[in-house]
Symmetry: C2
């Protein structure tokens, strides 16, 4: 049976009735003719690429289209074609077995690979082997989502395993790859590696907290070194994993985006195929717009934060008038109001800019967008702390009294206080520590709670709202659809899954990256930050797993060869950390003197600290990088070995070792004769064979040396 060849007896076949994907087609609110036409087009399109469909009522104004591959042979063919393409473009070091079936026996099809290939059939543009169904866009506006079904048995075991062990083993993590694809597996391996490194950081942190002074230089050095080693370690680990998982440079093999606008069609210099082409220099020019955008965006956001900060300082530390207890909430209110407005405007501009840069494939599009968003993330996460550390504390006593500009409005009320308040102003040195603790503990806990609870509540509320709305519109409620009895439980499950959010691994990666930033930039302020993160991430690893299993649609297993642009961001944060730590130590390390009052702090001292620290950072990074590069990477070794073996096999199969031996034979026979005529040269005639050469040479030596002794 064809089925049995697809190695793992897929649990999904039993639990999910053999469904590969479910397409939720939402016709509610659309004209009947339009909905029917689009539905018919959808089914015909799916059929045209060999997909079998089955349809059921999705309730609440939607249709659920169940999709699977019509013939397993078709699937095998697609898998094999995909593997050969990987090899052609250098993703795989060795060719798949020449015979299709044997190739599949050797490398069994994983669920991730199966789902990925079926997904490609559904979503790739028409020219590239799919039918180009893009949910919610253009001709497919009514297609709400395309998603695989959860494998509840697997999920149950997974969650149980992870919640009952202290350390998730690498094998466990790699299992994810076969289920959810390399992209998500990369996130979890990264999180686990980071967690392991956090154990070291936490140890250093605790040691420093109890045995070293605050703002300890020793701690800062160890902390920086730790961050450098982690970044460089992960850089290698990433490559190693990509090679081991057979996805190296897979990001270059991405398929073209449907939205990509080509300038002209040219022949691909590598494959000779005619491809859509957009000149790199043109994109490069457009990318230059990123520079003013980044400057402008960070300027605006920073200005917003600075303004709010000034108001906050003023209210909390200068202002003594009435309503103070109410007014202290103004800064928070302002931020809560304006930051989302500003970032959403900027995000829209960023998206427009990214679109304008006209990337050929999804992954480079995503990278470009991520990097733009990173600018906002950086500002929103760290600027409040920067303001406190590098403006408020050192210059507070100079600047704050000038904030009287504002107090003009308050003057009538505070005439008597003012005289005493202004000169008595004292920089609140504990403010920075409190802020860091807020960002590294409170915010993390809140965030974790939000991540787990909000989607649940949101789903509940939305479902109620939708039901209400549908009832009003007259659509059937999920509970009221007349399913056949044997399908009822299954369909109810599918309807629930259709309502879940889609999992976005980028958001989780961003969270970790920004967390790493707090560690590198500010942990000298409060060395226990790493302990907080250690605990948080131990839970995060498990709660993310739960999130994927319970609160999100099952993600489509995409491939990836790294954690993408986040590595660069980590490296950047580690670098910034070397500067930030140096300045923090310089400004605050002398804890006996009250900050803000120290006369011995000079600008050139700060600058010297930066220059020193940064160059030591560069040197250290070079050393760490060199050292790590000397150590063998199991993945790269495996790749080299595979290539070597593949080539040797090819050699043995096709090259005549016989010819070599033949040469040797001939040589031996021809020895005495030395019958090779070298030009018509006279030089070579004198001595025939090494014997004669030796004799002639000895004669020369003798005649010379004997003359000497005469």
């Amino acid at each position: 049976m064809a089925e049995s060849n697809l190695s793992p007896p897929r649990a999904a076949v039993v639990n999910n009735q053999g469904v590969d994907y479910v397409i939720s087609f939402r016709f509610g609110g659309t004209a009947k003719e339009k909905a029917e036409a689009q539905f018919e087009k959808l089914i015909v399109a799916l059929d045209s690429v060999g997909l079998r469909t089955e349809v059921r009522d999705g309730a609440n104004g939607s249709v659920l289209v169940f999709v699977t591959v019509r013939s397993e042979r078709k699937l095998i063919g697609e898998v094999y074609r995909s593997r050969v393409k990987d090899w052609l473009f250098g993703v795989r070091p060795a060719a798949p077995d020449k015979e299709t079936q044997r190739s599949l026996d050797k490398e069994p099809l994983t669920e991730a690979e199966r789902l990925r290939i079926v997904h490609k059939l559904i979503t790739l543009p028409v020219g590239e082997g799919g039918v180009g169904i893009t949910p919610k866009q253009g001709p497919w506006a009514l297609v709400e989502s395309i998603f695989p079904l959860h494998d509840h048995d697997f999920n149950k075991v997974w969650l149980k395993d992870w919640s009952t062990t202290w350390m998730v083993s690498i094998e466990e993590l790699e299992k994810l790859k076969d289920r959810f694809g390399e992209r998500i597996a990369f996130y979890f391996v990264f999180l686990q590696s980071y967690l392991s490194f956090l154990v070291i950081a936490a140890t250093i942190g605790v040691g420093s907290y109890f045995f070293l002074s605050q703002y300890s230089l020793v701690f800062a050095i160890f902390n920086c070194l730790w961050s450098v080693i982690f970044v460089e370690y992960w850089k290698r680990r990433e490559v190693d994993l990509a090679v081991r998982w057979g996805v190296r440079s897979v990001s270059q093999l991405q398929n073209k985006r449907a939205q990509f606008v080509h300038d002209k069609k040219v022949e691909d210099p590598v494959t000779g195929e005619v491809v859509k082409f957009f000149p790199a220099w043109k994109r490069l020019c457009r990318q230059l717009l990123q520079i003013p955008f980044a400057l402008g965006a960070s300027g605006m956001l920073s200005a917003l934060y600075a303004t709010v900060f000034v108001i906050e300082i003023f209210i909390s530390e200068v202002y003594n008038g009435p309503f103070k207890s109410v007014l202290v909430f103004i800064p928070t209110a302002l931020l809560t109001l304006f930051v989302p407005i500003l970032t959403s405007i900027l995000t829209k501009i960023a998206a427009g800019l990214t679109e304008f840069e006209n990337y050929e494939n999804e992954s480079s599009q995503e990278v470009a967008m991520t990097q733009k968003i990173f600018v906002f993330d950086f500002i929103c996460s760290y600027v409040p702390l920067f303001l406190t550390a590098f403006i408020y504390v050192p210059f507070g006593s100079l600047i704050v009294p000038h904030l009287d500009v504002f107090s003009l409005t308050v003057q009538p009320f505070t005439e008597d206080e003012k005289q005493t308040a202004a000169p008595a102003f004292q920089v609140n040195t504990d403010r920075l520590r409190k802020q860091v603790i807020y960002f590294t503990v409170t915010a993390q806990v809140v965030n974790l709670a939000l991540e787990t609870i909000v989607p649940y509540v949101k789903r509940r509320v939305f479902r109620k709202a939708k039901e209400f709305q549908n009832n009003r519109k007259g659509f059937e409620d999920a509970g009221k659809v007349s399913d056949e009895e044997d399908e009822h439980a299954f369909l109810r499950r599918v309807r629930n899954e259709a309502e879940l959010d889609e999992y976005d691994v980028t958001a989780d990666l961003r969270e970790m990256c920004m967390q790493f930033g707090y560690l590198t930039l500010f942990s000298p302020v409060w060395p226990l930050a790493s302990v907080s993160f250690l605990i948080n991430n131990w839970i995060e690893l498990r709660s993310d797993a739960a999130k994927i299993c319970v609160e999100m649609k099952r993600p489509v297993p995409h491939r990836a060869d790294s954690i993408g642009p986040w590595l660069d961001n980590l490296a950047f944060l580690s670098w910034m950390g070397s500067i930030s730590s140096a300045v923090l130590i310089y400004l605050f390390s002398d804890s006996t003197a009250a900050a803000g009052t120290r006369e011995d702090l000079t600008l050139w001292g700060v600058l010297t600290a930066i220059i020193f620290s940064e160059h030591i950072y560069f040197a250290t990074r070079l050393v760490v990088r060199t050292a790590l590069s000397k150590l063998d990477s199991p993945g790269l070794l495996k790749e080299r070995r595979e290539r070597f073996l593949a080539r040797r096999r090819f050699l043995q199969e096709s090259l005549g070792a016989d010819e070599e031996t033949e040469i040797h034979e001939q040589e031996k026979i021809g020895y005495g004769a030395q019958a090779v005529p070298i030009g018509s040269s006279a030089l070579w005639g004198k001595q025939r064979g090494p014997r004669e050469t030796i004799i002639a040479g000895k004669e020369i030596i003798e005649s010379n040396l004997s003359k000497k002794t005469q």
Copy 2:
């Protein structure tokens, strides 16, 4: 005939009588028995790897052994084996043709390849396919040198071509590769690229000299940008050339050094062969010694320069006593005396250290040594200028008066002058400019002259000296050896070539690298430096060619995949340039005020300038690197294309396209039936074929939407 298959009808065969290599065996001054035994061993060894020998009197106490390959078939076999090995280890993207002879027809054997392979037979260790003849070492102490013979016809054309054109074309340069190997070709291509870039630099320089003020910020920015672009350009060019010449990562394929000491023998994880092994971490630990060594060496050298500098300043600008005209030569004398002593001691330590680091192959050994020497080069070339620019000029007026410490000895003579001399001290602001001009013009001219004239004179003198010595010892003089008449002219030529020096491409690369350093570090002082270098290098390119042709033995054509560690050094100098330029501009740009008297110069100003400049440098480098990486590299394209084509060919040869079509056929037949049983699932039974699915779906839509409109 076998000969004719080796494509280019080798001119060498005619002019050089078919000689591949000449081994100069110098027995003078050795006991007859020992000399004869070693000579016999040599001939037997050469014979054992299939080399044919012929011997003649070398005059002056030496024997000339002419070496060629005994059978051309043997050579073909060796060439083919080498090509297959390249492919096995990933140097070549595509396998050589399966049939030996056809492979040679497709890719004709170049002279460089032939000579390289014969050289390997002579010099590789016994286990690696050679007979391990290492001149002047151990058992081969009497082997003076192993060298190929010049091809005078080619050399004549080469020199004529180059001396009569303004620009040497890339094709001309690539021709060198086939003669002298990739290593030397890389040097010439680098020199030519650098020369082309110098045209731009010179244009900027001239413009700045005439239209901008001295120490112009605008010029400094352009100059820095220029250096960044050049370094990044060459980084890509290098890879491109390596790929195009088929030598990519050839440096990893180097053969083991005979001096390499292994800890144990292990199985190579890639090839499975048992190889000598020395753990990387052990080497890494030993390499850490480089850090104290570099610090110590540069400290000592800098101290020497600083001391001499102080003496120089004192004598030339403070001292007014008697003998001044004589005493001014003391600094030069001190440097001429002590710098060579110190560097030769340090070089010995460096060599010892490199040996201790125990590298496996020649190229990594050389890289390690080069990097150590670069520390000395850096100090010796730039420290005198650094001292003037960053110590003497800004702090001169503070420091110089304290040099009176020395004047104690002079006091008796100068009692009356002293009172006037000390307070009248004025920093000589033109000193820096004069020094820069000295280093960038005078020193270059002197160096060029030395490079061309000294070897000539040296050869003359040495020959005379040797003749004299040999006459005394009783060896035959070259003129007096009784050659056979038809061989006389040829043998005289060979004897002359045997006496020439060996060409060392590293020395020439070092010269260019240090020159580039003057440009990046100091050209804001005197923007015309680039013009001087442009002229100098135009001549250098040609004089180096002449040097190789006339004054040096013909070099053995080694392979290389880059200019080696010099690229890193260039990048380092470009980085340093961003710092140095910033400080120079900050210190000197306000030319109206007399330097040393300006009160507005502050330390924090300098530090700010450095931080700004350096970070702008990093940003610029990132932009340039990204921009260049987007542009296509013809070499890499070619490699990708070759690999793609090779794989596609393999596919077409071995994979059944028939199987694919078979699947399609089956599918079409099976369409109506849809006979794939998916588990025992009930879900899929309801709708048979897309028609029924569409009808079912439409029913759902209709029933929902009609309910709504009821």
